[in-house]
């Protein structure tokens, strides 16, 4: 959260020009700066910006305040940024709400399942309970139908368990429309069967038991067909790719393309997130600090002063606002014009800085590779026969990893620091990875690959899968289907993913037959002879 505070202008010394004193403080990144510049004829504290501590400190009229202030820059060791706090509170409050909804839908599904399964059995059992004397005895065909009902119910049970009772992989913002429709359909269906049964069979106490059994069998058949409809709607329909979506990460512009079928926006978002964890390299905020500092330098280069003018301290209501807006407009235009005229050499610095960084990274990488290769030569796998002969100095993989780790630790740490990856890998995780590589006979290069290039988010430890809470921001309803030109955002705490979709065009393919004997060639010469 940024906090801009501005105080009313104070006049420094009598007899001098009216000056502007601006106290600007931000709480992002815990850097607090107070920039005060004065225009005075005979003062020696001319123009250099001075940083002072404390946001609520008023500038005193003391002449020596320039010498007695201290500079506070940088962050403390145990700082917690606003983002962390927001994230923790969100995690706490949202976990409760989500569980309620999940349990509600689960109980509803279980109740409906029980209702559906017990209905055919009830149809079969109720006549025996209510009018056993009037009932015709069950012949061979009827008993054959019992077996059929039993097996169909078993198949239906297995199919429903396979399709619906899987561990839920995500909590979507709205109910999946197809599931709701199917539930309603099944409910209507079962209710209508019960109505018919109640009116035509229970009330009239039908004696034809075979008819009742056939009725129950028809119910189970229809339920199996509804299950087939469920498979087609929920699983098969989105398999055929229909849209090509482009996913861009907002912080560093990583872009990937995926093919999706006809899905609602929320289900498409879920599919994209599952791909995100596998395909996108892990989000590293440390790599973005360079561009942020450059942007800050651009802004800090120019300041607009309003000399001999009325500074709009508070935004006026109504028509007076236009004056303030006009003033701000002209100020920004003046800033842009001045920035364009100024001969900026920041591109030069960027170029040399990047070249230097590249060189440093390559040097550290070379040292690291050599150190790791050397470390791996100290370890040798013991064969079975040798194990029995010399049980003295035998180590298991973990101990072996701990033994050779110190020789490469320094080079690895320096490399990770240079590439700003040191917060992704803890020493424990590195040793674990080393033991894993030793166990599986991997080469030093295989061990190093996971450190040389930033891998997908899944590769890192659990606390690095920072965002499990995503927000879907969309202009269209999230249960509406993907269309050509749909744009939506998937926001998590640190960054957001911008998703745009395009329809895959209709492809018209024609064929052309080539006779294998038609491949013939001639020699084309152009010689020149001198006579």
């Amino acid at each position: 959260m940024e906090d801009f505070g501005m105080q009313s202008p104070t006049v420094m010394e009598a007899g001098d020009e009216v000056v502007e004193v601006l106290e600007v403080y931000k709480t992002v990144e815990e850097i607090q700066e107070v920039i005060v510049t004065t225009i005075e004829e005979d003062s020696n504290t001319n123009s250099p910006p001075v940083a002072s501590s404390g946001p609520g400190r008023k500038t005193s009229q003391d002449d020596n305040w320039g010498e007695t202030t201290t500079a506070v820059t940088g962050t403390s060791e145990h700082s917690l940024s606003q983002e962390d706090i927001v994230r923790i509170t969100k995690d706490l409050e949202d976990s409760v709400g989500l569980d309620c909804r999940r349990y509600f839908t689960l109980t509803l599904a279980v109740i409906m399942g029980l209702l559906v399964f017990l209905t055919p059995l009830a149809f079969l059992v109720l006549p025996h309970l209510l009018w056993p004397e009037k009932l015709q005895s069950c012949g061979t065909a009827c008993e054959g139908l019992f077996i059929s009902v039993a097996f169909k119910l078993l198949i239906l049970l297995l199919a429903v368990w396979a399709l619906f009772f899987r561990p839920p992989r995500a909590g979507l913002p709205r109910v999946i429309v197809f599931r709701a429709l199917l539930a309603v359909l099944v409910l209507l269906f079962v209710v209508s069967y019960w109505l018919f049964y109640g009116v035509r069979i229970l009330d009239s106490q039908d004696e034809n038991y075979q008819g009742i059994v056939q009725y129950a069998v028809s119910l189970v058949d229809a339920l199996l067909f509804i299950h087939y409809l469920a498979i087609v709607l929920l699983e098969l329909r989105q398999l055929q790719p229909c849209f090509s979506v482009c996913v861009t990460r907002s912080t560093d512009g990583e872009m990937k393309h995926y093919n999706l079928g006809q899905l609602s926006i929320q289900r498409a978002a879920l599919a994209i997130l599952e791909h995100y964890y596998c395909d996108f390299p892990v989000h590293n905020p440390a790599l973005l600090s360079a561009s942020k500092s450059r942007a800050a330098k651009h802004l800090a280069g120019l300041k607009v002063y309003n000399v001999d003018g009325e500074f709009p301290a508070a935004p006026a209501e109504g028509p007076g606002n236009n004056a303030a807006a006009g003033l701000a407009h002209s100020q920004s235009r003046a800033m842009i014009a001045a920035a364009a005229r100024r001969r900026d050499t920041s591109h030069n610095e960027l170029y040399y800085e990047e070249a230097e960084h590249e060189r440093r990274v390559r040097k550290r990488r070379a040292r690291l590779v050599v150190a790791v290769e050397e470390a791996f030569t100290h370890i040798k796998r013991m064969q079975e026969e040798e194990q029995k002969k010399a049980p003295g100095d035998v180590m298991d993989p973990r101990e072996a990893a701990q033994a050779i780790f110190p020789s490469m630790a320094r080079a690895l740490q320096k490399y990770l620091r240079t590439t700003k990856q040191q917060h992704c890998h803890s020493m424990e995780s590195i040793q674990q990875h080393l033991a894993f590589c030793i166990t599986n006979n991997m080469t030093p290069k295989a061990f190093l690959e996971s450190y040389l290039t930033p891998g997908p988010t899944l590769q890192y430890s659990r606390d690095h899968w920072l965002a499990r809470q995503w927000t879907l921001i969309s202009e269209a309803s999230v249960t509406s289907g993907l269309k050509d030109g749909t744009v939506f955002l998937l926001k998590c705490v640190d960054f957001s993913l911008v998703v745009t979709s395009k329809k895959i065009p209709y492809i018209q393919m024609t064929e052309e037959y080539i006779d294998p004997k038609s491949h013939k060639f001639v020699l084309r010469l152009q010689s020149e002879t001198s006579v």
């Binding site: 084309r524 010469l525 152009q526 010689s527 020149e528 002879t529 001198s530 006579v531």
Partner: protein, 133 residues
């Protein structure tokens, strides 16, 4: 007067007509060889599309591709890009490259009389026939 472009190429069934220039080259003796001082390219067994001098890229005639400076050919008035129509009475519009070479380098002859054509000849005749006002 035939169409200038058509006269340089061969239309099947039609007689070939062209404005030609007679050139007589005296062969020069050089280390037991008789040389004429130019190079030829083209022929019915060659690829006409790669000929830089022909107007019509299906023309398979024999063209002069290089002239030795101050050699017998240049002195006689042969120019680069000329199409050779006849050599000593032998036709050169429908011959293979090797046949052309043989006809030009006969050791028994020390003079060759060529009939050559070039586009500038056609232009010159046309201009002289229809003088500009």
């Amino acid at each position: 007067m035939e169409h200038p472009k058509a006269s340089m190429s061969y239309i099947p069934g039609q007689p070939v007509t062209a404005v030609v220039q007679r050139i007589q080259i005296q062969k020069l003796r050089q280390d037991n060889n008789l040389i004429l001082g130019f190079s030829i390219g083209g022929g019915i067994d060659q690829d006409p599309g790669q000929n830089p001098f022909s107007g019509d890229k299906t023309d398979k005639g024999i063209y002069v591709t290089r002239i030795t400076p101050s050699g017998p050919a240049q002195d006689a008035g042969l120019r680069m890009g000329d199409k050779i129509m006849q050599v000593n009475g032998w036709d050169m519009t429908m011959v293979t490259h090797d046949q052309a070479r043989k006809r030009l380098t006969k050791k028994s002859e020390d003079v060759v009389r060529l009939l050559v054509t070039r586009r500038s000849l056609e232009e010159a005749v046309k201009q002289s026939m229809c003088p500009k006002p």
